[in-house]
Symmetry: C2
Subunit: 244 residues, 2 copies
DNA sequence: CTCGCGCCTTGACCGTGATCAAATCGACGT
DNA sequence: ACGTCGATTTGATCACGGTCAAGGCGCGAG
């Protein structure tokens, strides 16, 4: 049997590079539903997510879908890393978030002075590509139920806290947003979540907040759990049954 | 009405950075179906696609799917940009391809000497992220027919040549590979391609080679054609009817 | 309190694409 | 030419999830 451990996630960039960025960054405090347009900013502008959960959106022709991805603290958003669609923007999913905006020329300059910053940026971009490829596999090869379980694992691993009842995590998106992100339908997502609740896999602990007794049960509901754990948790599935 | 122009695509990195890389790279000539394992190489090893079409693969649990993406000349492959799945590898789709393998430490060193190389690498990674996000939208919001049209547009824009009969392009993958990549089923892909042939949208010009009379007709079959053209072609859809 | 407005839930029905099976095609070696 | 093996095509059937519609719930405004 396999077990997932929840470990502290490194959501922040290494301190050295961060201090340099902090000096030049425009800090933006955000509240829920606040939008930050990418269309307006110059191409090279770089956004660094510092706190909270954000969604990147864009208009997708002939479709109601408009979610491109979830942004977590530490992530980078850059116009060049987003497909050439209309109305691209970032919206805050949770309250009291924070984003840093950096001019492309400043980043360029700092990068030339400090190689570790360049390294940090390429690592973030590579990680983002890996996560997008994994998400491709999620929506390309999993059933509806498995996709929802995958999203919950991702959020639990990133934002989860241990409580007596198990692991509690935020899912601060509407059913429609979840559906868009998982390439499902809002009605279907609602059905799936209800089913998971009635099976006891998860329970609602507050508005936009879920808890699950055991991550392992969730993982068993999702074939890609192992890869998700490695990617999002710093945690990993291991086969040892050593229960201390 | 909109028209798509096919323009020369810049598939190669800027010359300056390329010369530096050339000195340190191990050049690998590949033939069809040749595999290059990523699992064996050190984490930081960087692969640069120089010629030919390649597919990145990985084992996906409980699924026959195993295609993560298509790699075109100019693309970078890096273990960190690939999700934490088993049996990750790159296979050549076409004959007479070429890949450069670079040690992570060499890249690091060159990057510190020449900022334009660092820039080239981040640009490639960002572009890859954009393409993956676009592919998410393709398999998440399009019907089977539209997905196949999207893949054909991508290939036509990247590898297409003008001929008297229209645009001719290579599709050197098996039906199964195409199906995996588009999150469809091999049977379904076969049906869709047959349907497109009987509609006259495309015709078979040789084994693994198709031609289509007009890219615009293909584009009309795919809601995301505009974004695909911007991303893959350097071409774009424009609304001018100026026919010289 | 009550109304109104979003959002969510649940049910009934339907369509796209998956699955399974059989026939056909293509490449290659003998 | 013939036989073999894998890939492709095509057909028949079915299930998952989409669509549409009705009803419920939460929450803020009047």
């Amino acid at each position: 049997m396999s077990r997932i451990r929840l470990v502290a996630t490194m959501t922040n960039a290494p301190g050295v590079a961060l201090d340099e960025l902090a000096q030049r960054a425009t800090r933006i405090a955000t509240r829920r539903h606040q939008r930050i347009a990418l269309a307006g900013a110059p191409d090279e502008t770089l956004f660094l997510i510092r706190k909270g959960l954000f969604l990147s959106r864009a208009a997708i022709p002939d479709s109601h879908r408009n979610i491109l991805g979830i942004l977590y603290p530490g992530d980078i958003a850059h116009a060049l890393a987003i497909p050439a669609l209309d109305r691209t923007e970032i919206t805050a999913a949770s309250d009291s978030g924070e984003i840093w905006r950096l001019r492309g020329s400043d980043v360029q300059e700092l990068q030339e002075m400090d190689a570790s910053l360049a390294r940090m940026i390429t690592d973030r971009l590579a990680e983002k590509a890996a996560r997008l490829a994994l998400h491709n596999a999620v929506i390309g090869s999993l059933t509806g139920d498995e996709r929802v379980a995958a999203l919950m694992m991702e959020l639990a691993l990133r934002t989860g806290r241990h409580t007596p009842a198990g692991i509690e995590f935020e899912m601060p998106m509407s059913r429609t947003d979840i559906a868009d992100h998982l390439a499902l339908n809002a009605d279907t997502v609602s059905r799936i979540v209800s089913r998971m609740r009635s099976k006891g896999l998860i329970s609602v602990s507050a508005r936009n907040s879920l808890s699950c007794r055991s991550l392992d049960d969730l993982a068993r509901a999702c074939p890609l759990a192992d890869a998700l754990a490695r990617t999002y948790g710093g945690a990993r599935l291991d086969s040892s049954q050593t229960a201390p």
